[in-house]
Every structure is written in C-alpha cells, then in structure tokens.
C-alpha cells in the first residue's frame, strides 16, 4: 500500500515502539511523583473552589434552562426560553447599553482624570500626602454609605447640591439629579468617579514611582519638553499599570450593583438599572430564579469574554513570567 509517512505515527508493523531509554523512564516517574505531590497540595483548595465557586456557576447555568421559583430542585424545563426572553427584554437590553456607556465614560473621563491627578501629585508640592489621602478616602467608604450620602446630597430641592447651586445663582441647573431619566446616568457617573478615581490614582502613583528618575532626567537633558517627557517616557513605562486599571474599571462597570441599588434601585423607570440590579429584581423580588439565573449567566459570559480577550490580547506581555507551568519555564 502506498502510505504517506506521517511523522510521529507509530502504527504499522515496521514502526514498533522504541524502548524508552532508562533515563527517560526515571524522568517520567519523577514527573508523576511531582504531579502527585502538587495535586496533593492543591486538592483541598480545589475542592473548596469547586464546591463554592464552580458548582454554583454550573448550577446557575443549569437553572437558567428552567422556570424555577428558587425552592426545591428545578423541574420545569423550558429550554432556551429564558435566553430568548432575555434578548427581547427592553430592560436587559438597556442594561447592556448602560453598561457600555459606563465603560466608555470611565475609560474616556474617569481614568484620564485619575492619571492627571496622579501625575500632579507625583510632583513635589506642599502637602501632597494630605491630597493623596483625601482623594483616596472615598474609595475606603462602603458603596452603601456612599449611596445614602449622595442620595441626600442630590435630594431634589432640599439637598446640599441644590442649595449650593441656588446660592451661586445656578439654581436652574439643579433639581433633577437622580430623579430624572435624562440626568440619572450622568449623576451616577459623577458619584462613581468621586468614589473610584482615587483608587486608580493610587495605582498610577505606585506605577509612577517605579519609573526611574534617571530616564526623565536624561530626556530633559536631551531637550524633551514636559509633554514629550510624559508622552514618550512616563506613559509607555506606566502602560502595565494602565492596562490593569482599565481591566478593573471595566469589570467593575459590568458588575455594578450596590451603589445603584441604594441610591436609585435602578430607577427612575429603569433608567439607571444595571444587569446585577435586574438580576436581583427577578431573583429576590419576583422569585423567578430561573430567569434571574439566565441574567447571571449572561453577565458571567460578558465578563468572561472580556476577561479572556483582554488577557489574551492586552495583558499578554504583562503576564509573561507571572504564570507558571509544569515545565517551569514560565512560558
């Protein structure tokens, strides 16, 4: 027979397996032992991770194919009905749109603002430690407290924001804030920026301080303008920090819940609702746990796709060397 030779094929009468050399066999045994030891150490963590993380995820996936009230085991199988319904649900489609809006706003406004503040507070200015602490402080506050606080500040007519505006003669600008469909997202974004820019600023500050001063000095000596120094020295060296900060910001926007829940509960008329809020409404207010599971699966899918794509295409260089494999070469 005319057979094409395939490298690595060991079948056929004249391709008897080569006996492994002694050294090779010993290496295999050593590897197996190695593997067993590693497994032994990992098992407790794997079991915990499996039972507390993987199993619930898989169960949510399972439940999303049922109409289920949340008690007993799901039994009313409805196929992909929940998902069909999901993508015809104006509220959920709105959630996706608002999620995208928050991501874009965060990346276009919040992070650049945080970067500007970080660069500013990296200069030698009087009291910069105090400023750093002040700007970081909101991040320490819990989301629930932030929500209650800004609910009061932006209370229409009676809140601090409206009083301040009318005191400086701009009273006409106030009065809406969280209570008007057209202004609620902007107000929400304002509060989110107040709450989170300090965190990103801290990340950038840490990144900035790891940039050797010699490089900027050398650039100065070469006659680079401050902008050129920032654009061609600081920014490239800060890139790994920026990439992580973008990642955290996007994931945070996808999963946004507590702040919205406390301050508007998704209103007025769903105009500030996020995926997590919709999920909560269906799961814990309406007891349509099957449908809520479908929402959570969709949320998980969005996060997962983003996380994987981002790691694959953006974080690859940063992660090189940070991961380990059995060969130990870090590839």
């Amino acid at each position: 027979m005319t057979s094409t030779y395939l490298p690595g094929t060991r079948s056929g009468p004249d391709a008897a397996p080569q006996p492994l050399p002694r050294a090779g066999r010993a290496r295999t045994r050593r590897r197996l032992l190695h593997w067993l030891t590693a497994m032994g150490f990992q098992l407790p963590a794997l079991v915990l991770f499996g039972v507390l993380v993987l199993l619930p995820i898989l169960f949510a996936l399972y439940a999303s194919f049922f109409r289920w009230g949340g008690f007993g085991m799901p039994s009313d199988y409805t196929g992909t009905d929940n998902f069909t319904r999901l993508f015809q649900d104006d509220v959920f489609l709105g959630d996706l749109w608002r999620c995208l809006l928050l991501v874009v706003l965060s990346l276009a406004l919040q992070l650049p603002f945080a970067l500007a503040m970080a660069v500013l507070l990296n200069q030698r200015i009087r009291g910069r430690a105090v400023y750093r602490m002040l700007f970081f402080a909101p991040y320490v506050l819990s989301e629930a407290i932030t929500g209650v606080l800004f609910g009061m500040i932006f209370a229409p007519g009676d809140g601090l924001a409206d009083h301040l505006l009318s005191d400086i003669g701009l009273g006409a600008l106030g009065g809406k804030w969280f209570s008007d469909p057209s202004t609620v997202m902007a107000t929400l974004f304002l509060v989110m920026t107040w709450k989170y820019f300090g965190f990103h600023m801290m990340l950038y500050l840490a990144g900035l301080q790891s940039i050797p001063a010699e490089l900027t000095e050398a650039a100065t000596v070469d006659g680079a303008s401050p902008w050129q120094r920032f654009r061609h020295v600081t920014l490239p060296l800060l890139a790994p920090t920026l990439r992580i900060s973008v990642f955290l910001s996007v994931i945070g926007s996808i999963q946004l819940f507590d702040l919205v829940w406390v301050v508007t509960a998704g209103g007025p008329d769903h105009h500030s609702e996020t995926m997590a809020v919709t999920m909560f409404q269906y799961g814990f207010k309406r007891y349509q746990v099957g449908y809520a599971s479908a929402i959570s699966v969709a949320m998980f899918a969005v996060s997962l796709v983003f996380a994987l794509a981002y790691q694959r295409f953006v974080l690859r260089r940063d992660l090189a060397g940070a991961t380990t494999n059995m060969r130990g070469d870090g590839a």
Binding site: P156, G157, G175, S179, P181, A265, D269, H270, Y287
Partner: protein, 430 residues
C-alpha cells in the same frame, strides 16, 4: 497516592465544604413543638420585632400561659423580609410552625392548596363570626376560615386641611373629576397637590389599584388574576385616569427619585406641609410625624373617590392587615391561643398599646386617635375589600403591577402597555 496526610486533609476540606453546602441548601429547621410531661409547647412565629408590639405580645403570651398552665408558648420573631423568605422555604419543605403570621390572600391560598394549613371554620365559631367583616376577608378562602386577624387597615388620601382651605377647596372630593379639579385648584394656589415616592414603586401602584377597583370593580381584579388576563377595558381605563392625573403634573419636584420615609421623601413632604395630599395606608400619620414634623390637627382623611361610570363604589376599600394561621396538625392549644388573641380584652389592649385598628367591633372604644377613628369608620362601613395586590397576587405579578405603573407615571408606558405587561407576567407564572 504516596502521602496519606494530604488526602486526609483533602477529605476534611471536602467534608467541610459539603457541610457548608448542606447548611446553605437546607437553611431551615422544622418546628419542634410537641408534648412532653403533659406540657404542650406551641411555636408562635411573628414579625413583631419592634417595640411596643414586641413587649406587649410577650406579656400577652405570659398571660395566656398563666391561664393555660399546660401550655408553653415559644415565640420566634423575624423581621418582615426575612420572615417572608423563610416562610417561602418552609412552605416548600412542607413544615410550617404551629402558629404563624399571615397576610392572607394568594400566599395563604398556596399554603392551603398544599394542605399545610388548618381549617378553622368550625373551631373558631362563634368568635370569628363577630369580627369586623373587612378584617377577616383576606383569610376566608373558598368560604372557609384559615386565619384570624389581629390588625386591619386601608389606604386612602391623607390631606392637609389648611392647604385645601388656602386653595379654596371646601370639602374633600368624592368623585374622580372632583379630585382632578381639586388638584388643579391646589396647583393654581401654588401648592404641590400630591407627594409620591417614585423610587418605591408600590406607592404609585396604590393609584392604579384603586382606580381599577373603581372602574373595573373588585370582582374583575380577582377574575383577571384567575384568568391571567388584565387586558379588560376597565383596566385600560384605570390607567387612562391615572395618566390624566399625571398629565396635571401634581407631584412634588423630583418625585421620581424620592423615597417614602426618608427626610426628603413622600411622607416628609406631607408632614412638613410641602405637599397637600398622599395616598397611603393607616400608618401615614405616624410616618409623617416621624420623617417630617407632622401637621397635627390639619391632617384629615378621605376615601379614594368614585370614578364616574365605573363599577366600583366609594365604600370599597383597598388595604390589608395581619393575622395568624395554624399548621394543619397544630394542637388544640394553638386554636385556643388564636381565640384568646382575638378576644375583646386582648384586642382592646392591642389597640391601646400598639396602635393597631380593632378587629373586634367591641374593642373600638379603646381607639382614641382622631385619624385612626376616621379610618375605622370607613372600614366599618366598607361594602367590599381588596387585599394589597402584592399579597393577593403571586410575587412576580405584584412586582410587575408596581413596575408597569411606575412606567406609566414616568411617562414611558401607555395604559394598554401596563395591562399587557401584567397579563404577560401572570401567564408566565402559571
């Protein structure tokens, strides 16, 4: 595997994790009432977690134990939302406490259908027959009594007499067109006619529910839920009437973001005389005084007006209360306790000390608050009763009513959209 210690640790971790999972899944224990040494222990689950009710109820339990030396009451108190969640789990598991709090309506019906609730029709006669008719209505299902009330209330308009006077309104309106006129007059006088908590959608639902009662009628509300069809002309009409009201822009500035009981919320707006009216239950005066300053003698109450040409009348009330039901094989002592709790003496004490409205007509004399007397008069004269929709209907349907009506008030939904959305949810729940 070469290392037994590792596998043992893995096993321990697995056991621990499994244990956690099991606890989370089961989440509840059964009620362990029983008779030992001639003493019957009866579990009593209620939601009176705040004073003064908490203390008053405990002392009533002591009093009952003193009268019945062979009975011991074990009180389990849970906060409202926690209680609802727990009861859903207990209902699913089929093990209810001996005596448990109930709001009647759809949830009680589910428990009855599952065969978990004791029929009290014969065992509580004649005492139960003498109770205020509107109070016991939510607990009578298929002509059988499954629960005994201890509280009843209703929703109506709470208004500021001084602001009405300023706007030149001499008497509270009795018809919907009269009501709309009053709203216009108040606006013309520079007064915010109505306070509404747009953030909490149940507050807007009251308007739609009352309008549906007035146009389509109470029977239609029940039938619509049974048939899973809310698209009848009466319901669309109810939404249209609400839309007419919204078109007058009667609510306070920024109402869509307002909460109910916060210092800048609905109750405070009325309590601080910034708005002239709110549509709220019998608890409104106390919340107004708590969140705001309270308007004292200026506060008045009038029932939801009749709608011209509608099937309902002004004497049909929308409300609810609280009651107790028993698990199917609860001991006789539990029945005795319900009788004790609904006796004239007990009810008078509850009215006096915990400011609930009397369910025993004879306990009426214990009522001193002028506002509550007004509500009581309405309840006594009531010719029909509709339980709060979120208790009368399945949770998803109740939430959908709230949600759709909120959309109508915000201007994004039409009256027909509302009825269609509710119908769709009702059908999904079958």
């Amino acid at each position: 595997m070469g290392d037994p210690a590792l596998s043992r640790r893995g096993f321990l971790a697995a056991t621990a994790a499994a244990g956690l999972g099991m606890t989370a899944l089961s989440g509840c224990g059964g009620s362990d009432s029983g008779t030992s040494g001639g003493i019957t222990t009866v579990e009593w689950w209620n939601i009176s977690t705040t004073e003064p009710a908490k203390g008053v109820w405990a002392s009533l339990a002591k009093k009952f134990e003193a009268q019945n030396p062979k009975v011991k009451l074990k009180i389990v108190q849970l906060e409202n939302d926690a209680y609802k969640t727990k009861m859903t789990a207990l209902t699913a598991s089929g093990k209810l406490p001996d005596i448990f709090h109930t709001w009647g309506g759809g949830v009680l019906q589910q428990q009855v259908d599952a065969g978990l609730v004791k029929d009290l029709t014969d065992s509580t006669k004649p005492g139960a027959d003498g109770l205020l008719p509107v109070a016991k209505q939510a607990y009578i299902l298929d002509n059988k009594t499954y629960g005994i009330p201890f509280d009843i209330g209703m929703v109506g308009f709470w208004y500021n007499k001084a602001l009405f006077k300023r706007a030149g309104i001499s008497a509270p309106p009795a018809t919907w067109s009269g009501f709309l006129d009053a709203v216009k007059k108040l606006k013309a006088a520079g007064v915010t006619p109505l306070a509404l908590a747009g953030k909490e959608s149940w507050t807007g639902m009251y308007y739609w529910a009352y309008l549906a009662m007035r146009t389509a009628g109470i029977d239609a509300l029940k039938k619509a839920n049974d048939d899973k069809d809310f698209t009848g002309a009466g319901f669309v009409e109810a939404g249209q009437h609400l839309k007419d009201l919204v078109a007058l822009q009667p609510f306070q500035k920024g109402f869509l973001g307002a909460a109910y009981s916060t210092p800048t919320g609905q109750a405070a707006s009325v309590g601080n005389a910034k708005a002239a009216m709110e549509l709220m239950g019998q608890w409104a005066p106390s919340v107004e005084a708590d969140a705001g300053k309270g308007i004292g003698a200026d506060l008045g109450f009038f029932p939801f007006p009749a709608v011209e040409g509608g099937k309902g009348t002004v004497t049909e009330v929308f409300g609810g209360g609280g009651g107790h039901a028993l698990r199917a094989d609860a001991p006789q002592a539990a029945v005795d306790f319900l009788k004790f709790f609904a006796s004239e003496t007990t009810d008078a004490e509850l009215v006096k000390k915990t400011s609930v409205l009397p369910v025993v007509p004879a306990a009426e004399s214990a009522l001193t608050d002028a506002n509550l007397k007004l509500v009581q008069a309405q309840l006594k004269a009531a010719t029909g009763f509709q339980l709060y929709l979120d208790q009368a209907y399945a949770p998803a349907v109740g939430q959908q009513v709230n949600d759709s009506v909120a959309g109508l008030i915000a201007g994004s939904k039409s009256p027909a959209d509302v009825t269609q959305a509710i119908t769709k949810t009702a059908k999904e729940e079958q």
